[in-house]
């Protein structure tokens, strides 16, 4: 199609959808209303399972199958990215050049922030069932925290902290562990992903049954997955040259 024809079709479609959507908004409940059938059920269910962070209870207990699916999406995306960005044809790793020198203040800042960030990440993962946060959030903090080393201009020390084979192994192991918790529920509680561990008492670190376990599993999965994912992009951007590779027009 010509650019003009494309624009006409697009504008007609978008306008039609917009009109329909405006019609639909007329039927929406008012903002900030107090009627929430699912919330009422979910809060009660979370309290029954001794999980003060209701969001975590929904994610890792009440609707844990969704979370398994989402973790598997991450696994699939990481494997897919690794497959699509693999070295082919004439692509070669080029010898590393010494990067430009950074101001010392930035480097020092990154080094100081690194342990703090990693600690925050671990804290967010470990207390997911008690306070906002959890495996997803903490995992991302851990993975991005590690890349402060790249910001500090030390790609080589990042690589030392990042034996990719082990991270890939961790990714597979944590997905398996998630399924394993589910199967344990099936064996002990009669249904897949049943919360079969002792529930403990409120505000204890060891409470809420399988919720903190799954938080840790997902934290591992997200941290390792994000590291492997970023590693593919970093390799492509920094180390790979030549070839009719991805991103080039061949």
């Amino acid at each position: 199609m010509s650019g003009r024809a494309r624009l006409v079709v697009f504008v007609l479609g978008a306008a039609g959808l917009a009109v329909a959507f405006v019609f639909a908004l007329g039927g929406m409940p008012p903002f900030g209303g107090s009627e929430h059938p699912y919330r009422d059920l979910a809060v009660a269910a979370a309290l029954r399972h001794v999980t003060p962070n209701v969001v975590s209870s929904v994610n890792f207990d009440q609707r844990a199958l969704d979370t398994l699916g989402e973790e598997t999406i991450l696994l699939g995306s990481v494997i897919g990215a690794a497959a699509l960005l693999r070295l082919v044809g004439h692509e070669k790793e080029r010898p590393e050049r010494a990067g430009g020198r950074l101001p010392d203040a930035i480097g020092l800042g990154c080094y100081l922030l690194l342990p703090v960030t990693l600690l925050i990440g671990l804290d967010v993962v470990a207390h997911g069932h008690l306070t906002p946060g959890g495996g997803f959030q903490g995992g991302v903090v851990l993975a991005t925290g590690l890349h402060l080393l790249y910001l500090a201009g030390r790609y080589r020390s990042l690589e030392r902290l990042r034996p990719l084979a082990w991270y890939e192994f961790g990714e597979g192991a944590s997905a398996t562990a998630f399924v394993g918790v589910g199967l344990a529920g099936l064996a002990a509680g009669g249904s897949f992903l049943a919360n079969v561990l002792p529930l403990g008492s409120f505000r204890e670190l060891l409470s809420a049954g399988t919720v903190p376990v799954l938080n840790i599993v997902v934290g591992c999965a997200v941290a390792t997955g994000a590291v492997v994912l970023l590693a593919q992009f970093l390799e492509q951007a920094i180390r790979i040259t030549g070839g009719a590779g991805p991103g080039s027009s061949g």
Binding site: R6, P37, D66, G80, L84, S191, S249
Partner: protein, 615 residues
């Protein structure tokens, strides 16, 4: 079921492929390749066995499992339900069986991405199984995204070719955009009902007539599904993706993934919306879109010479038929589509694998370049048999599905639809027959050299490490298994009374909304139902199958042996056909525009139709 309780089969159908994928991923670093092949194929076979047993159990009544043990109290629950009836358990079984065949075929598929390939295929299977078996709208969306993420990567797997990435990218952009629209629809529904389960939302929407919010939410929610199903005008991604994807991946995409889109549309409408959005409007709208899809698919199919694109457009044409079968909204219609999908999956899967074999031997899938080179071995006769099956030859699988759908259309008061079924079968079957006769037997006139446009360049590298000189037995075994499956769907179901009755019961159970809600939300027993219409061969069905097969022969003969003078005169039709071809430009911006236009058209049609259509 021995060894495994029925209620455990559904979650295991998701869990087993995920664990196997992780093992394949990690194991590929040290284990020899054959071990990984064996592991992956074995896992798919185990999953097929689990889902097969689940299907058998579901014939006796839905198998309902609440994950996490969150069984409902007073019809309310916070959990996610897996609800297997014969149709969706059967689809999960189909997905597992096709994956098994695809992985068997891949034993000789050598690639630098070996472990990654196996892991992706198994995760794709986990996504399809979860998508089929879940009874929760948001969970459907999650597994929809899992199917997407893995399928995009599998499509673009042959990264050494730029076109491969382009096809994967088009697929990813269009499907992701459609998924966002679906998510907005889910948001609207949640705002209205505060529920996420199909049964819960359905109960909350109740018998009140739908207002604009519900209609728009319906349309947005299904945009993702019908885009995955390649309903025109959201179908453009399909041929681009199939042209570049490895042959075994095409088997999964054409055989079951796009059909799952139709399934999701039917499931969501029947369970959630059928008491609110008027059936007459939905019927008219989807028959119209179905006919449009079938027409576009037919014209594009018969005017292709790139074999994989030809098969891809034939899939689009058949999706049009499946949409029409759904739109009848009767139990017989659902039965017909279910049988049709099963037969079509085996036959179309076999055709894609045969195209893959040709690609591996001759480095091309162009009908003209392959002229007479295929030889008269087993692939030749399998190809021609598949072509006849696709044309609707009794007593094979697609023919039975077609005959049942035609009968259902007649019973619904729309007998003219039978003509659409016959025409589509004749044209797509004829196109495949023509290609087979030309490629394997060297019949008809030679084609000119291929016009190298952007669409087809660079898709012709073998998928094996070196070009094959003969067909490896594992590859041929996969093809034979698929053809046998496609044939059996028609012979066994159509001629064995017990199986015919069971197939009829599948459609009946699928259509039974009240039974679904009762069993899922209140744990009620399966409701007794009147004896269903058996899915067996009838006189009219056999006749229509013979007619469409003869017509397919005529289509093939015409395109092979049309006299030169007539061929020149036929070129006057070219501008219209070329126009349609130009719409399939490979430009993702075009596809986005058409996606929005299609979604808007569907929304406005359903908003306007209830006023116009009585009942």
């Amino acid at each position: 079921m021995p060894w495994v309780p029925d209620t455990a089969a559904a979650p295991l159908a998701v869990a087993v492929p995920i664990v196997a994928a992780c093992l394949a991923l990690v194991g590929a670093r040290w284990a020899p390749r054959p071990l990984i092949d064996l592991l992956a194929t074995g896992a798919a076979a185990v999953t097929a066995w689990l889902t097969g047993a689940l299907t058998l159990a579901a014939f006796g009544g839905r198998v309902v499992t609440w994950t996490g043990g969150w069984s409902p109290r007073d019809g309310r629950s916070v959990g996610i339900v897996l609800a297997a009836d014969p149709v969706n358990a059967g689809l999960a079984c189909l997905a597992s069986a096709l994956t098994c065949c695809a992985l068997l075929y891949s034993w000789r598929y050598v690639d630098s991405a070996a472990g990654h390939y196996h892991a992706l295929v198994l995760l794709f299977l986990a996504g399809m199984n979860g998508f089929a078996l879940t009874g929760d709208l948001f969970d459907m969306f999650v597994f929809f995204e899992l199917m997407g993420a893995t399928a995009f990567a599998l499509t673009g797997l042959r990264v050494e070719e730029p076109n491969s990435l382009q096809g994967g990218l088009n697929f990813a952009v269009i499907n992701s955009l459609a998924a966002y629209l679906s998510l907005i629809g889910l948001g609207l529904l949640y705002a209205r009902t505060g529920q996420l389960g199909l049964a819960q939302i359905g109960a909350a929407l109740g018998g009140r007539p739908a207002d604009a919010l519900v209609v728009v939410a319906f349309v947005l929610a299904i945009v993702g599904f019908v885009t995955k199903a390649a309903m025109a005008p959201m179908h453009f991604w399909l041929a681009d993706a199939h042209a570049v994807a490895p042959a075994p991946v095409c088997v999964l995409m054409s055989g079951v993934m796009v059909e799952l889109g139709v399934y999701a549309l039917a499931r969501v409408y029947v369970t959630v919306f059928s008491a609110a959005v008027p059936a007459a409007a939905v019927r008219e709208a989807f028959i119209a879109f179905g006919v449009l899809t079938a027409a576009v698919g037919c014209v594009m199919c018969v005017t292709q010479r790139h074999l994989k694109r030809l098969f891809a457009y034939s899939t689009i044409a058949h999706i049009g038929l499946f949409l029409i079968g759904f739109a009848l909204l009767t139990p017989d219609g659902f039965t017909g589509v279910a049988v049709y999908v099963a037969g079509h999956a085996g036959i179309k899967g076999a055709l894609f694998l045969l195209a893959g074999l040709l690609l591996d031997r001759f480095q091309t899938v162009d009908e003209g370049e392959l002229f007479g080179r295929g030889g008269r071995g087993a692939p030749c006769w399998l190809f021609l048999l598949a072509a006849l099956a696709l044309a609707g030859l009794p007593p094979l699988g697609p023919g039975l599905g077609k005959a049942l759908s035609e009968d259902a259309a007649g019973a619904a008061g729309l007998p003219w639809l039978a003509a659409v079924f016959v025409l589509v079968s004749a044209v797509t079957g004829g196109a495949v027959l023509r290609a087979g006769l030309r490629v394997f037997l060297g019949l008809g006139h030679r084609l000119g050299p291929v016009e190298r446009d952007t669409q087809t360049a660079g898709e012709e590298r073998p998928e094996t490490e070196t070009a094959l000189t003969r067909t490896p037995p594992t590859m041929l075994a996969a093809v034979v298994l698929l053809v046998l499956g496609g044939v059996a769907a028609g012979v066994a179901v159509g001629l064995v009374p017990a199986l015919a009755a069971a197939a009829g019961r599948a459609g009946q159970t699928f259509a039974d909304r009240a039974g679904y809600l009762g069993q899922v939300l209140y744990g009620g027993p399966p409701r007794p139902a009147p004896p269903p219409v058996a899915a067996r061969w009838t006189g009219s069905g056999v006749l229509s199958g013979v007619v469409s097969t003869v017509l397919a022969g005529a289509v093939a003969a015409l395109s092979l042996w049309l006299p030169r003078g007539a061929r020149v005169r036929a070129r006057r039709l070219r501008p219209a056909v070329d126009g349609l071809h130009r719409l399939h430009s490979g430009h993702v911006g075009d596809y986005v525009a058409w996606l929005l236009a299609g979604a808007a058209g569907l929304a406005l049609a359903l908003l306007a139709l209830p006023a116009a259509a009585p009942g």
